[in-house]
């Protein structure tokens, strides 16, 4: 038998918590039919986590639950979780949920002799049996210690209680306040040792982050890191720090940059779809403009785009971009573009990440722009930001979303990366830098590609200008000392133009001179010819005269002869 079943993988029985992310790191949920201890200080979300476990059990897995509260009355609980969208009243009416408030008032209770906690057992057992509960929460059972003074009895009874819960086969959550040296004040971890989870609430530089860690989980593998988690209007969600593998699908598609001329700097005419692009540069180098161009281009192609603006409000962004000829408003109206503006310090990094995660789920964008990503640094430490960005980029890649981040360099001089970039640079696929090219009393903007994974690209620093009609990449102008920009470019252009003109006029002048010379030549020829003619004529006259004389002489001789 055993040999036959060896190939089948044994799966530890688990109860899915229904809490986003938690099932992933616990590899399926809490141990089924066993108690789990959740401990943490005040306000870290123990009660909520427990409540969500019960409610999700009912709604998602049809496992009725008993919530035994030692702290809050049932009505308060109902009200508290209502704001998170859980309707306890309805579940109670449907006989899926029992909320029992156990009040322990020391002033009312006098202890006289031996006792046990069978009353509690009976109550709990009755509640479980009434609705056939599979899940039980005891929140916070340590309150008993403040109400009853005989610790020896309490401890023995608690041990019996947890044992009894196991026998009952219910999956239980026991919450406990965090103690000084122990996980819980009363050392409950001694009794509940199948699964222990610690919740923590830390404030670092005025920004609070909640974290969750699985201390132990008998019989199962689990994530051992501290995982940030969030409480928002949908309850708790846990964010695994990194996805386990890098095996996302890649696309051969190319998306255009939207900036006229920039596409030609890439061998294939744009970015790969699903890649991450970083545009870095110092202040005022038109990073936002480039981002807006990209957004505009995607929206024109009817691709859904989300623009996170951490510096400007949507209205301001739209107005500013109008001034350079980009109108984002129609895209917003048609629903292709969503602009989300918030101050980065509004909430912790995780909440930003979660907002994005939710948006991706609901809006399903193909393009995400974060402007600027470096502002997030103000929220957390470098390490935290990096881990958040890793998760962010993983998430975007997984969904094959093209993402463009802008990043602000603090230093003006160095072309090498800044803090923010260093944490991102190895993660991004394409990295553009816009920078100021300073010289002879003016500032010009240049753009160049630092890297572009999997694609040939231009190595030139291209100058670009921003006009009322938008961004224009200038043609490369070579001067004697390299590429020319700004005034130097214009001077050079002017110079070459004038020299061309000069040459032209020189040529014309020479042409005219030759024409004149020819005329002179022709005139000379005419004169010579005239002279020649006159000489010839003279000669002719002489010849004629001579002939005439000869004739006359001959005639005379003739007459003489005849006379003889």
């Amino acid at each position: 038998m055993s040999i036959k079943h060896q190939n089948e993988k044994f799966e530890f029985p688990k109860s899915p918590t229904g809490i986003e992310g938690l099932d992933e790191i616990t590899d399926g949920g809490f141990p089924k039919g066993r108690p789990t201890l959740i401990c943490g200080g005040a306000g870290c979300g123990k009660t909520l986590l427990a409540m969500q476990f019960i409610i999700r059990g009912i709604t998602d897995h049809n496992e009725p639950g008993v919530f035994m509260s030692f702290e809050e009355p049932s009505d308060d609980l109902t009200l508290n979780v209502k704001s998170l969208g859980f309707d306890l009243e309805k579940l109670k009416k449907d006989k899926k949920l029992i909320v029992d408030h156990v009040r322990v008032e020391r002033s009312e209770i006098e202890e006289a002799g031996e006792y046990d906690l069978d009353g509690l057992f009976v109550r709990l057992g009755y509640a479980i049996d009434t609705i056939g509960a599979k899940r039980v929460v005891l929140d916070t059972i340590e309150s008993l210690f403040s109400g009853l003074s005989n610790q020896a009895i309490l401890r023995a009874e608690l041990r019996r209680l947890f044992h009894w819960l196991k026998q009952k086969g219910v999956t239980a959550i026991i919450t406990g306040e965090r103690g000084e040296a122990t996980l819980t004040r009363q050392g409950l971890e001694e009794y509940v040792s199948d699964c222990v989870i610690i919740l923590d609430h830390r404030v670092i530089e005025q920004v609070s982050t909640r974290r969750l860690r699985i201390v132990k989980y008998r019989g199962s593998t689990h994530g051992t890191n501290e995982y940030p988690f969030l409480i928002d209007q949908d309850g708790i969600s846990v964010l695994p720090i990194t996805s386990l593998k890098l095996d996302n699908e890649v696309s051969q598609d190319i998306v255009s940059t939207g900036v006229p001329g920039l596409d030609s700097m890439f061998e294939r005419g744009g970015f790969y779809r699903g890649s991450n692009i970083l545009v870095s540069g110092t202040a005022g180098t038109a990073k936002t403009t480039i981002a807006s161009y990209f957004a505009d281009e995607q929206c024109r192609k009817k691709e859904k785009t989300v623009y996170f603006a951490f510096e400007e409000s949507p209205q301001q962004l739209i107005r500013n971009m109008k001034s350079i000829g980009i109108d984002l408003e129609p895209h917003v109206k048609k629903g292709y573009l969503q602009i989300h503006s918030s101050r980065p310090s509004l909430n912790g990094l995780e909440l930003h990440l979660l907002t994005l995660r939710k948006l991706i789920k609901d809006f399903k964008p193909t393009t995400v722009i974060i402007d600027p990503i470096s502002n997030l640094i103000t929220v957390g430490s470098e390490h935290e930001v990096r881990s958040m960005l890793v998760r962010l980029i993983d998430m975007l890649k997984l969904n094959n979303i093209t993402a463009l981040f802008t990043s602000l360099n603090k230093t003006n001089e160095s072309t090498r990366p800044d803090l923010s970039e260093e944490s991102v640079s190895s993660l991004v696929d394409t990295w553009l830098t816009v920078r100021d090219l300073e010289g002879i009393g003016e500032r010009n903007r240049g753009i160049y590609i630092i890297k572009s994974r999997g694609m040939g690209h231009s190595n030139q620093v291209r100058e670009f200008v921003i006009t009322g009609k938008g961004v224009k990449l200038m043609e490369v102008e070579f001067g004697p000392n390299g590429i020319l920009t700004g005034t130097a470019r214009r001077t050079n252009e002017l110079k070459s133009k004038t020299s061309k003109m000069k040459l032209q006029s020189e040529l014309e002048r020479k042409d005219r001179e030759i024409a004149r010379k020819r005329k002179v030549l022709e005139a000379n020829i005419e004169a010579l010819r005239n002279e020649f003619e006159s000489v010839e004529e003279e000669l002719n006259v002489l010849k004629a005269t001579e002939q005439l004389q000869k004739k006359v002489a001959d005639e005379k001789n003739d007459i003489k002869a005849r006379k003889k």
């Binding site: 006098e110 202890e111 002799g113 031996e114 046990d116 009353g119 109400g147």
Partner: protein, 96 residues
């Protein structure tokens, strides 16, 4: 009989006939006879029989003696072997 309500109404919650509950019952009967002769009533509630009653009086531990009347409600848990504490708890002045 309706008009004559007992001056002291006591409820004893037990969970089955355990040694502790038997002891508690005999103890409270003894004290009541001693100090409250003729003006008390004791009701015994077995939670194993009627568990739904546990919630109403916030019963955790058994045995629990509840003084319903006179008000305020007082609770004494345990087998009631410590007479002094029971009397203090019930606010009965010992006749001694």
């Amino acid at each position: 009989m309706k008009t004559k309500v007992a001056e002291w109404q006591l409820l004893l919650y037990i969970a089955g006939q355990t040694p502790k509950s038997i002891k508690a019952l005999s103890n409270i009967k003894k004290y009541a006879e001693e100090h409250l002769a003729g003006k008390y009533s004791i009701e015994i509630i077995d939670l194993l029989v009627s568990p739904q009653l546990a919630e109403g009086d916030q019963i955790l531990a058994v045995p629990t003696l509840v003084r319903k009347f006179p008000e305020p409600i007082r609770k004494i848990i345990g087998d009631l072997s410590n007479e002094e504490r029971v009397l203090v708890g019930l606010n009965i002045k010992p006749l001694k």
